[in-house]
């Protein structure tokens, strides 16, 4: 966060540094001239003046951006068909090149609660398929009155609803749980969670259309990727808050998030929200697919393994201050995200003394159901060593456990559903490192 706010000239490329530090008349670059020319064209168009075809400047090769010493003394860039991020903000979903099937949301770079669509985490089991929406269909069959075939156009004609829900991969936090090393960022600790405003149709509406039979107790959801991914889901979820969605933050789903159509099961482990959804089959028992037997089951210390463990337990993480920030003395917002698959977060407490005392943090918004809240606690750092922790409570009364508590009931080798209290150690020199041994 400090990195983003500081605007330090040392982060800029040499040319840009020069531009900032040299007088305005020497810093006007070729790009600035282009921008200026474009601005003039804009004025011309607005004034109804006919234009001659673009000159040399318009065809010039792109050059590195140069920052004017005084932006008020130069016309800005022209309008564009698609916006882009500031050249000063370059968030990255996969910071260390680990691309084997997942990428992580850079939680430390984001504010509020909504995840920009292109920064939503990815987890896929056979890559991202390229699907033509004009040829994509959804088949609903099994224990229904009429096996139903729907085109995308038809799916979109059902009554639409818009809801904000998080999706969290149930493997989120495995590394930090098993090996809590000091050099982990929020992204590395918990970046397999993202939050989105989804638009789609309640699954119940589609199942009513097909005439779901009352004896159906489970359904199978199948994706159209190269592993034809499948999960078995209880019908109770289908008739509750499940959705079939095609929109992510106001635009069609990103391919990585299931374009053109995905299932959305609020609060449940991410892979149950099957992407590239092409088929729903209603039946009377789960199918025991590979993704609910070999994977996504939870070994327990009593020698059993929990199966069909859907709910995501309450969890929170401070996203700033965090590694690799270096703090100076004074006031800092200790801020982060908290979420629960069981409804609302009712309380987030922050400790600045490694759990000896806790203070209620401010929550915004306060009403999200299966959607994250952002919490903030203002804290004045006095220059002494400190450990910052956050602890979430949800509306069922569940309190986020320490790592020790979780180790006791799950063991070090359990594979999914990691939600221990974690935090950040602030050393006397201001260096912030991950603190996972709670």
């Amino acid at each position: 966060m400090t990195k983003r706010m500081a605007g330090s000239t040392t982060e800029l490329p040499p040319a840009a540094r020069d531009a900032v530090t040299t007088p305005a008349d020497e810093s006007i670059s070729r790009r600035d001239l282009i921008a200026g020319a474009a601005g003039a064209i804009g004025v011309a168009v607005a004034a109804g003046i006919p234009l001659v075809a673009g000159g040399q400047a318009a065809k010039a090769a792109p050059v590195a951006p140069v920052v004017p010493a005084d932006p008020t003394k130069l016309q800005g860039a022209p309008t564009s068909q698609v916006g882009s991020r500031s050249t000063f903000f370059k968030p990255s979903r996969t910071p260390f090149g680990e691309t084997v099937g997942n990428s992580l949301t850079p939680l430390q770079d984001l504010a509020g609660t909504i995840t920009p669509a292109d920064l939503h985490f990815e987890r896929h089991h056979a890559g991202v398929p390229l699907i033509d929406p004009a040829r994509h269909t959804l088949l609903i069959h099994g224990l229904v009155e009429t096996p139903l075939m729907l085109t995308m156009d038809e799916v979109k004609r059902f009554p639409q609803v818009t809801r904000t829900y998080f999706i969290e991969c149930s493997g989120n936090g495995r590394n930090a749980y098993r090996e809590p090393k000091p050099d982990l960022t929020p992204q590395k600790v918990a970046g397999l969670v993202s939050n989105t405003e989804w638009t789609g149709v309640p699954l119940k509406v589609l199942l009513d259309e097909a005439g779901a039979k009352p004896e159906a107790t489970w359904f199978l959801a199948e994706g159209g990727d190269a592993c034809v991914m499948t999960r078995s889901i209880p019908m109770a979820k289908a008739m509750d808050d499940a959705m079939v969605v095609w929109t992510q933050n106001g635009e069609p789903l990103r391919p990585e998030q299931g374009f053109p159509l995905r299932l959305l099961l609020p609060g449940w482990e991410g892979n149950t929200s099957v992407k590239w959804l092409r088929r729903l089959e209603l039946g009377t028992r789960p199918w025991a697919t590979r993704w609910e037997t070999s994977k996504y089951t939870d070994p327990l210390p009593d020698g059993t393994a929990r199966q069909y463990s859907f709910d995501m337990d309450a969890k929170s993480i401070i996203t700033a201050p965090a590694f690799p920030q270096v703090l100076s003395r004074g006031w800092w917002p200790v801020t982060g995200l908290a979420w629960t698959g069981r409804g609302r977060i009712t309380r987030v407490e922050v400790s600045t003394d490694n759990g000896r005392s806790w203070t209620d943090a401010e929550l915004t918004p306060t009403t999200g159901v299966k959607a994250p809240v952002r919490f903030t606690h203002y804290w004045e750092w006095n220059g002494k060593e400190a450990v910052l922790l956050s602890r979430a409570t949800d509306e069922t009364g569940y309190v986020q456990p320490t790592r020790k508590e979780l180790l006791k009931v799950r063991g070090i080798g359990t594979d999914f559903h990691f939600n221990p209290i974690v935090g950040w150690k602030v050393a006397a020199d201001g260096k912030v490192t991950f603190h996972g041994e709670t």
Binding site: M239, T293, S294, P299, T304, Q307
Partner: protein
């Protein structure tokens, strides 16, 4: 003026949404109160269309196709089509290409919670034999998913179960015999008992 706009918006929303989503406030949890309604959208799928997509196999054997294959033949297919990723002995190259063949004596106590390195091979961990058939048929081999014949999938399933010491290497599998196979650790799998509340489980 502003009030008029708001009333207009409310009316427009009601007109679009109707009674079906009247309870759809931002804090509403579910859609269970939406009355069932028929919109006449889509069309009835033909039996052939359903059959083309409906390849899933249940743990009770439902959905298993006709056909059969021997573990011996499966061993040949494995070396030709699977070994380049999973290794000639099924040890894989984790995490991209998982280990699939192993019967570790340490797995006897199902101590996966205390030992993250204990391999969750088919023989050590998988609760249902039908999962092997279903997964291989829909997703393997990696570069030609869905290309195997049903006989080949039966043969590969037989080989993988035999190599994991679940059935003998002399075995032949078809739908009837596959649904009879009980995996060694089937009974270790339990339903999720987490329900929120104070207790951490």
């Amino acid at each position: 003026m502003r009030r008029t706009v708001i009333i207009g918006l409310v009316l427009a929303t009601a007109a679009c949404a109707g009674d079906r989503v009247a309870s759809d406030t931002p804090t509403a949890a579910g859609f269970s109160s939406i009355p069932a309604r028929h919109y006449g959208l889509g069309r009835a799928a033909t039996p052939a269309e359903v059959a083309a997509l409906d390849i899933d196999v249940g743990p009770d054997g439902e959905g298993l196709p006709a056909g059969s294959g021997t573990a011996t033949l499966g061993a040949d297919i494995y070396q030709k089509k699977c070994a380049m990723c999973h290794g000639p002995k099924g040890l894989g190259m984790p995490p991209a290409f998982p280990l699939i063949i192993s019967r570790d004596p340490k797995a006897e106590g199902f101590k996966f919670a205390s030992d993250p390195k204990l391999p969750k091979s088919i023989g050590n961990y998988w609760p249902d034999a039908t999962t092997v058939f279903d997964y291989v048929r829909r997703a393997m081999p990696l570069l030609q998913p869905g290309s195997l014949t049903n006989d080949e999938v039966y043969a590969l399933t037989a080989y993988l179960l035999a190599a994991n010491e679940v059935i003998p290497m002399s075995a032949t599998l078809d739908s009837a015999s596959l649904m009879q196979v009980k995996m060694p650790y089937r009974d270790k799998f339990v339903p999720d008992d987490r329900r929120g509340g104070r207790e951490v489980k």
